[in-house]
Amino acid sequence: MAYVPLADQEQELHHPHSWVTKYVWSQDHKVIAIQYAVTAIAVGVVALVLSLMMRMQLGFPETFNLIDPSEYYQAVTMHGMIMVVYLLTALFMGGFGNYLIPLMCGSRDMVFPFMNMLSYWVYLLSVLILMASFFVGEGPTGGGWTLYPPQTNLAGTPGHDSGIVLMLISLAVFIVAFTMGGLNYVVTTLQSRCRGLTMMRLPLSVWGIFVATCLALFAFPALLVAAIMMLFDTLLGTSFFMPAVIESGTPLDHNGGSPVLFQHLFWFFGHPEVYIVALPAFGLVSDVLSVHARKNIFGYRMMVWAIIAIGALSFIVWAHHMYVSGMHPYFGFFFATTTLIIAVPTALKVYNWVLTLYEGDIRLNAPMYFAIGFIFTFIHGGLTGLFLGNVIIDLPLSDTYFVVAHFHMVMGVSPVLVVFAAIYHWYPKITGRMFHEGMAKLHFWCTFLGTYAIYLPMHYLGFLGVPRRYYALGTTDFIPQSAQDLNTAITIAALFVGASQLLFFSNMLWSLRNGKKADPNPWGAASLEWQTAETPPIHGNWGAELPTVYRWAYDYSVPGAHKDFIPQNTPESIEPTMDEQHFDPDLDKSKADL
């Protein structure tokens, strides 16, 4: 019997027969990707609004009184958890992973379409459970996004009754959803590539998502274990993490648990989580930079190695989040060293992005604005990470706004800029329409400059020693009035950046109907997803035959080629020989017609 590639097995397609199976219970990876993305962005908007409420409180503490101290802590907690897990992880993996992996692999769909669909609906369930915590009992948990016991379980912490329970259940459900999706991404990448597409011919987007998925599959279990044990502590009265505590003069039933054990489990997940978000962003931005610089990505092989090295190293740095919890100095030394080592492959990637731009034929399209903006913010956030990776510098800075500024630059602003770059870049393929270029560029400048106006001064506040996690700073000797004024300015910038996201949403919605009809390959990209016969691609992606791949995904500005890019599915017989490099335009035309 003739071999039928897994990528091409017809019975796996489950063609939709009704509106419901096409748009609701869809098993098409592209529809599921959009469902993931819309849900993630919607819940991200909730987190954005929470952050603006916090900033209003910090910038104008005596003026608005929108939230009380308990609600402030609830907002901090929900903002952090939503942004990191329910927005960024879901968007990069469920959104971009779902859309791009089968297309970039030349496959018709994910390997397990039903499980892929289930993954989205279980993810939605986890989001709904989390959102439900706003409406029950005292509201959501206010124990901070790290959910440290015993604080989260004590009566003084808002949401200690139902809020923390719903948060933990929601996280467990999210992990189940992610595992179903993650197995799909990994198996599709390994088993369902089209003919000729070797692993080292994959675009870096796929590499980034693939390695990040492996990280997530191995790191989320730590969060699951922590969540289950903490649920036992909360609901069944066990003492895995809960120590002996006297609450309002009354001893609680718990005894002897180890809060530090929870911290280890949490950060064993928590640090790889940084790279679960960062690695897909690295991959996507590499492709955007290469396409719009009309140049192959510099050091492709090193970029792949760096992604793998960063992924592996991310599992042995977790305790740098716990320096202030206290540890043996040798452990501190070990984790500081591994933290600094991880900067090496990361820096390598930054150099390669910059060298990709060097002498490129740069097209300053809107996606490129965001991609270049990412390089700035990532260098900025990465360098402050080197400060905090050292124990002796981390200790005084750990509880200040310096840390807030650092992690927002490196894993807030930077990945979000890549999200925007990627959405603008692939929007024509996803929707078949072009977006409004001017509005997109205005969106970039508002976001890029606005976020700098927020986070640069925040580093200074940190150096002053202004503590984070405070509802109001009040009057103290070490916080001058200028710091209060700076807080006001930061809030104004935050409100400006928040409002400017309306440019993005209105552009996306307006362009859906009114945007110019997009060419199948408007940027002249070489990777497979741009070579589909239909734009947007139809269900099954490739028509009668799967593509065959003859080259890597970065053949840009090849000397002597007819165009400044050669698609991956172009046979080498159509390439010019070295002798033909000073080519004849007529000959050139006839070859192009081939």
Binding site: L190, S239, G256, L265, Y550
Partner: protein, 204 residues
């Protein structure tokens, strides 16, 4: 192609078709099996982290070891028989004669159900003896380990029940061959996990 050779490929130099229709570097097995192996690694991480937590927690002064019920030996035997029956079903599914395949496959699941019932009975005995879940961290871990293990087994039983229904409703054994192979692998894994957990619980 070895991993190092794969990662050392200078893909910018090599043009043309590499490999046949099967993707270069893909595992030569069903995708379901690849997914299951990845899932087993994920589950191994879960059980490993529970076990590490157990060892860290037992160092703290309030730890009182729990005398595990003798019933657990019987339960272990039930799970081992379950695993053996699945292996038998797997062997039959690969051979030309498919006699006894229903007995072996369905029997494997039934013994797994008996194992879970046995674990519940062990819980009941502990409860009756006053060893409640929150009395001591050793107790808490006993209930936690057995519960998480049973939940994994229940997941397997869901797949087993679907295939059993197919077999009983007259499907050809070759139609459920893959399912039988995957169930067997999963059952062996859960038997090994249980043996490790049992050893940890019994010896500390």
């Amino acid at each position: 192609m070895s991993l190092l050779k794969t990662l050392g490929d200078k893909s910018w130099e090599r043009k043309g078709i590499i490999g046949g229709l099967k993707p270069v570097g893909a595992f030569d097995t069903a995708p379901e099996k690849v997914a299951l192996v990845f899932f087993l690694v994920v589950a191994s991480v879960v059980f490993s982290l529970f076990t590490v937590s157990y060892f860290i927690r037992m160092e703290l002064p309030d730890w009182t070891p729990l005398a595990d019920p003798a019933k657990l030996w019987l339960n272990t035997g039930l799970l081992a028989i379950s695993s053996v029956l699945f292996q038998w079903a797997r062997n039959i599914s690969s051979s030309t004669s498919t006699r006894n395949i229903k007995t072996a496959f369905i029997g494997g699941g039934v013994f797994a159900i008996l194992f879970i019932a046995g674990q519940l009975s062990a819980w009941q005995d502990l409860n009756n003896a006053g060893h409640y879940i929150a009395s001591n961290p050793a107790n808490s871990f006993f209930y936690l380990f057995t519960a998480v293990h049973a939940v994994h087994l229940l997941g397997g039983l869901w797949v087993w029940s679907k295939s059993s229904i197919k077999l009983l409703s007259g499907s050809e054994p070759k139609e459920v061959r893959l399912s039988i192979q995957l169930c067997t692998l999963y059952w062996h894994f859960l038997l090994i996990v249980w043996l490790v957990l049992f050893a940890v619980l019994s010896n500390t």
